[in-house]
Symmetry: C2
Subunit: 358 residues, 2 copies
Amino acid sequence: MSVFGPSATLGIVGGGQLGRMLALVALDWGYRVHVLCQHKDEPAACLAHRCFLADFTDEATLRAFAESCAVMTCEFEHVPATALHVLEAHGLLRPKASVMLCAQNRHAEKQAIQEAGFLVAPWQKVTDEKSARDACQVLGYPSIIKTARMGYDGKGQRRLDNDNDLMASAALWQAGTCIIEKKIDFVCELSVVACGSVAGAPLCYEPSRNVHESHILRRSHVPSGVSVALCQQAQRIARQLVQHLEVVGLLAVEMFVTQDETLWVNELAPRAHNSGHWTMDACVSSQFEQWLRMICGLPSGDVRRLYDVTMQNLLGEEVHRFLDDVSHKEKRVHIYGKTQARAQRKMGHVNVLSKRYP
Amino acid sequence: MSVFGPSATLGIVGGGQLGRMLALVALDWGYRVHVLCQHKDEPAACLAHRCFLADFTDEATLRAFAESCAVMTCEFEHVPATALHVLEAHGLLRPKASVMLCAQNRHAEKQAIQEAGFLVAPWQKVTDEKSARDACQVLGYPSIIKTARMGYDGKGQRRLDNDNDLMASAALWQAGTCIIEKKIDFVCELSVVACGSVAGAPLCYEPSRNVHESHILRRSHVPSGVSVALCQQAQRIARQLVQHLEVVGLLAVEMFVTQDETLWVNELAPRAHNSGHWTMDACVSSQFEQWLRMICGLPSGDVRRLYDVTMQNLLGEEVHRFLDDVSHKEKRVHIYGKTQARAQRKMGHVNVLSKRYP
């Protein structure tokens, strides 16, 4: 049960904004930060004490990185299995590789969720035209085909309303294993960020209600507006998944809520999550502070919510609203330092605080 | 009235913890950060996009640094005049050089405070034995001799109780101009961090009551415990000094309170101040966020206080209390990432939050 305090070196695998916001907390606490990524201009790379620039096939660099860190964590889940094994062989990876592998494959993920006793949308594995047709026979339309790997923000998935849509998706299963899942007719989507420690019971934040536009998260609302009972059930599911998977770190759990108040688990992410960014300004301890605390074996911080809050993503050119946003005292802005404001790219976010609780 | 948003480059002159905490806010807002200092391991240096390593006589490097930044600020006041002029000739320095020069010389500082209409301890300029003896004739004992320049944390000053103490201090005036000031018999010390913008009236935080031990700040308490009237007077003094000196940025004002509730201005610092670290966790906008806002020409943030708070400095080995401190939910820890925990060295600080206000 290793504990790491300031002056220890935190290793962040990946150079994106989640790694950057984790690094900011670690630096405020005096940790050294090493980042493994592919380009020195990535958001997390530019504030690291040391960058290891390599792709995930460069075993020597992976090893050098692992040996330079007291503890490592991945800021995105699609790290190749071979790389995860090298990192784990030469250092301490939290969450462990098996958690990452589960979250990066939709089969393993859905199986784990079902083993833990929770509902997922009915689904079938698809490897070829026959299994695809069989799946749609069983599941019916509308349904969704998703690549088993590397899907995010709607990439690698497609809605299926009929056999034509299905046949037009052949490229997906020809490229690799897919799943087809029944389209859940949900009334809203909730997500919960749960914290798994080396010792002691899991904790979690309040659920947020998430609004997507063209498959990209637009806003998260807390409180979510669903019943207290449903909030508690969502939190219980997240905590139990942390225990089932033995997560040391964070686990973000996305769930669909149907008309009958049933919760269907959609996706897991073993890291901080965009839908948890509201915690940066509405809680004493943010999801990034909790991430650091969990992987360093520190006691949990304070996850209670102090404000009603809406988190708004700044996509593409919206980042240029900065000068207006910072003129509103109730808006708390975070910008990721990306040089190009490409359309739909996540450039930053704003937490709009409203009612404050004593 | 130039305004700088994210993707602009902020230049920080000096590599200490004040620069580091300013950089952390700037990075959270997507700014690029350049640091001018002497060693790449200084607290602010290790998280900068780019470091310019030089002493303050290296004009070419000063110029290159200035030309690389949209706006520059000094995180300590003892930057040599020649260096300030080079920076100002090749870039935008906020606060301007004249403010820095005033704050780094105890004569100019006391004269400015008196010109603005506020009280300072009776004082005399001292350049040799005669002027020293004359000063003590006029002021009497106990008094304090201070070097005009480069004094901080009690360095370059000495209490005088008699002529022997005076003569034993000859080395001070032989090394450079000094002042002797009458020892003020104060009941407490207050400080106020005020914010000066390019346009609009100055703002300030609530005064803190500061407790020193062997000339080093140990704790700051907010609320200060002095009367509302005295708090308001202290804030008025700080705001008027910002206007008198035309500070764009921050001005920290240290004051003594005597039994009769008179305020005597002791020292000015044109930057964030150790006694303002409580704002990092007890206010929505910290003194570092306000510093960034002011020098970038952004509107002011929210300087209201949300908690009762005591700021405790972590000196030397006290930094190793970290693991205990982070286990208390009401304690918010900040560590500066200094490698050597030398005795009395400022290694970090803890804000202990108590009563919370809606």
